[in-house]
Amino acid sequence: MSKVVRQIGFDEGAYVAREKEDVLVGNEIIRHRLSSRVIHWAVADTFFACLFTGLPVWTPVFGWMGTLVGGLSVCRLVHPWFGFAFALSSLAMAVHWWSEMELTKEERGWVGPKLLEYLRDATNHDKIGKYNGGQKVYFHTSGLAALGLLVSGVVMWYPTSFPAWAREIAVLLHNISFILFAVSLVFHIYLATVAEPGTFNSMMRGTVSKAWARIHHPKWYREIMGLEK
Amino acid sequence: MTNGWVDIKNADVILCMGGNPAENHPCGFKWAIEAKKTRNAKIVVVDPRLTRTGAVADLYSPIRVGTDIAYLLGIIRYAIDQKRFHEDYVKIHTNAPYIVGEKFGFQDGLFTGFDEAKHTYDKTAWGYEANPKTKTYSVDPTLEDPRCVFQLLKKHVDRYTPEMVERICGTPKDTFLKVAEAVTSTGNAQRVGTIMYALGWTQHSVGVQMIRTAAMLQLLLGNVGRPGGGVNALRGHSNIQGATDTAGVFDVLPGYLKTPPAGAQTLKEYLEGATPATLGKQAWPSMNYWQNYPKFMASLLKGLYGKAATKENEFGYSWLPKIDGNYSWMYIFDDMYRGSSMRAGGKEPGPEGLMTFGMNPVGIGPNVKKMIGAHSKLKWLVVVENHEIETAAFWKAPQEYGGADPSKIQTEVFLLPASNFAEKDGSFTNSARWIQWKWKALDPPGQAKVDQEILARIFLAVRDLYRKEGGAFPEAIANVSWAYTNPAVPDLSEILKELNGKALADIPDPKDKTKVLKAAGQQLDGFAQLQDDGTTMCGNWLMSGAFTEAGNMTQRRNNADPTGLGMFHQWSFSWPANRRVMYNRASADKDGNPWDATRVGIKWNGEKWVGDVPDMKPDAPPGTFGAFIMLPEGVGRLFAPVLNDGPFPEHYEALEPACDNVLHPKVTSNPAVAKFKSDLDVYGARDKFPIICTTYRVTEMYHYWTQHLPRLNMLQPGQFVEIPEELAKEKGIVNGAKVKVTSARGSLEGVAMVTKRLKPAHADGKAIWQIGFPLHWGFTGEKGHQGTLANMLTPTAVDPNTWTPEYKSFLVTLEKA
């Protein structure tokens, strides 16, 4: 079912996208309303803040990053707070998207073969709704990693308050969670920018073209257009 | 110490008993460790508690508090029974062969001559048997005469079987036998053992007898006088030895000369009483060095009164105070508390003023309530100290101390700030009798003054008063010699020179009268140069040699050690005569050959004695004199007919006994001890107070002083009570909980230290609990680190020879606080 929105002579798409998503505005479909985008960028920004203050602590190879923020001790001081903000944003994200991110049985294959299939452009897109399995898997992966980072991060923030075994586990968990997060993030960024033009805009302006929607998320497209059910 | 700290390294067996050297003498204890490391010496520790000394022991034996005499007599019995004593030594160097008179006897815990009403013995009942014709004493060199000392000793100790030791001391027989075997392994010429003890022996109502038992054991094992041997008292303060040597107690003058008794009104009478007559001896006569007593005394009087002391006025002897009774400090405070003197029929008032230097009587006195009561009776009190100690603050003592409302106490208290040990020059005499000079490290803070300035200025003011106003007996003060460069602040090196002594007239050389041994005004080389005619002066004959014409010998720091035995003759000065091992003549056999060639004390080289400074006339060939030159017998005493509570030691329970005396239930405690009788002198019965309690110090603290120092409070933050695990379980006490210990006199709270290191003791097979706590805390001190004075609980009970209180054994109850 389509919705006709009053034309008032300004960027109507952006205007509508402040509050609504999954609607057609002119030739654009609103994919992410403002709150979704703010949450996304909160997670992204806090993550990068953590990354830039965490990497120099992780390895001296990135020591120069520490210099940028005023040295390693500044990193030690602010990284936990960025981490805290990152955890809060991630929590908001989880709550915000939880209902949309339920993995169906078929989608579980996205953890392995289906992802490769997708990368080879061999996927049958026809049944893909607003989010494909890969995106859902990424959502859960990053959520899980964020949780790991949070739990281990708290222990590492206050090392004197925890026993040695907890600190040892925390160090490992923080490492593993970070690597997991970082690797999947590389794909996320790649796919959302260079690999699939038009995607980045969905998270900036909030809108995608009909064509984009039809190519990448045909089922969702059909729902917006009122062509299904 | 008969020997010295360093000499401990020469021992094969080190018995630590009645002391806790690792904790309370850690720096000296290094030599015990040295012996352990370099010669595989065995450290044997006998203590109710496994202490930090016990922690490094090769053999640890528990013992019930205060039963050391039984334990040691058990070892003596074992040595005799197993023939593990040094027979050759015993025959020539002890009074074992002496025949004791027929009057001597021992029955049911009492020696002959006991006066029950007075709690005293008639010591003449214990005399040796003298031949009235020759005036020499009978001996039996074979040691077989039933009345010779050896046979009497054998008979006396016969009751102390290993089984009896177990019954009395609670020590398992196996453990006791292991200790006895280790200790008596030195009862021969090849091996040497030493004993280290401290106040764990001294502070009992049988304290002196405990130490005597140790001395007897060492004589029997042939360990006295030998490098690595001896009976070694570990002194608990840096200069307590120096204080003792310089008239630390009321009945001695400097150098252990006797304070004149009231009966000796002239010097002649006094010297007759004080100078012992030489006794005829088994083979060799005694050198009886005390026959020089008149020289020491005349020189002391010349030192005290200078030019005012003349031959005509008996060197001012009449100005010396005479004693008409017991002025030991427990008796002084008893008089003070009761407000009347026990002497002169209680007619005289008690003391009205008190000056205390470097002493905290409220803290260190037993039965603190009585001490505080005594202080409250004073008109004035002068405390010279570094901190406001309990004595200075007695008037504001908490309620539980029996402290009265401060407004009701009329005592005027003066607290004079004193410099401490690091803030003045002077000397320390250590346990090894080494008089070591030390230099001031920093200036005293604020208005603090050195002790000698405080004393001198008071003295000068008092003398001025006497000079101006006369008074009852001005001569005693007015005639005191005070010839110091700065009379208000005498330099301590001038004092040391005075203690050393100098010639007042030219002293002729006794070998060649035409020559002058010492010219008038010269410092003496040693006490051998002292004269009885007033031509020498000497403040303390024992210290003579410490500051000669060659300079201040106590400042010497040459660590050359040609003997290899750690004697260090050119390091400081050791009294007497720079001798490092006392009685060292006994380190050699009858021919002057050392018992052990690797540990030579002294030996006869055909012309003279060489090695250590000989405890013998240097050119007297072997066989001339007995080895123990200070005794009229010339030999070591296995039988000592001079002590107030018996010529042989006997096991007695503490004055607050936890059980009957197994050996003689009718005479449970030391019969020669008289109890104090004021209303605060209460003693607990075992049915009400069933637990034995003892007190001690810890390494981290120094007496009642360091609770003022934050860093040491960090190391040992507060009062604790050591409790055996089994007792804690019975009482439901957990480690770290607060507990309360109560005796008949007072109670104390502390943190429970539940430990495996204290086991239940046994007496006659029945378990008796023992607990203990350290004594460092009081109602003054750094905030947060105050506590109850340990002596709130201890009884006013004293040894009948030294009048040292029985801090080490009393009865208490224990409960959760």
Binding site: D121, P159, V186, V194, R222 | Q716, G750, V754
Partner: protein, 295 residues
Amino acid sequence: MSVQNSFEVVRSSAQVWGSGSSLRSLPAVSKLVDTSTCIGCKACEVACQEWNDLQVVSTEQRGTYQTMPTLDPSFWNLIRFDEHEVDGGIKWLMRKDQCMHCADPGCLEACPAPGALVQYANGIVDVNPAQCIGCGYCATGCPFDVPRFSAKTGKMSKCTLCVDRVAVGLEPACIKSCPTGCLHFGTKEEMVALGNQRVSQLKAQGYAQAALYDPQGVGGTGVVTVLAFGDHPEWYGALPRAPRVPMAVTLWKKWLRPIGFLAIFGAIVGAFGHHLYHGNKGHLDPGPVGPDEKG
């Protein structure tokens, strides 16, 4: 208290390319702690505090002779007291707890701050507070639970083996103060020899299990300890039986970090390659609008 540069640094925390030239060499130094002759007098505790100008730590009596439960940022040398029943007898064991100056120091391994922890050519592991970021990783890296983080200064602190004294030819303060001579200081070689001599003496005296504690799991330590009950190091203030740099730290530094590095860069390179090979997805219009689409 760091005096870096007075000794050749051979290892420094968080360096990409090593640290010392290793051209100048020094014999490794070591303390010897002979627990069998330690009398627990705590002189070393006081000497350590005084030499290093450390403040008094507030303590309370908790039913033990031990000064405090564990090391403190201002207390680097602690005698640990333990009571054990052995063959029916009581043993009161005392051990000087402090930084062990491991040959393979876990603290240094774990430390992320360049130069905050250094190991000199003579084996001393030193802290440089100026570089320390107070992250506490060193505590996680230490198998002996030694480094302490001070909330007041935000820095880690621990025994430096009195490097300032050693640098001028003096022995550490604790050694200097020991009255019984249960503490010694010298080259590692000498200390091991001396320690072994005591061990054989103890064995001859009936302590068959006596041993010299110089755990090889951390490459040996700069504090070697004589234990009469060498088979029970844990009796001595929880001395670990076989200490190693914790697995977590090794895994992190030796495995996870390179793996993570590779994975992240692999992903980036992969993405790049993917793009070169596959190009954009949907760069063209998908074609005519189907019948299902209204426009």
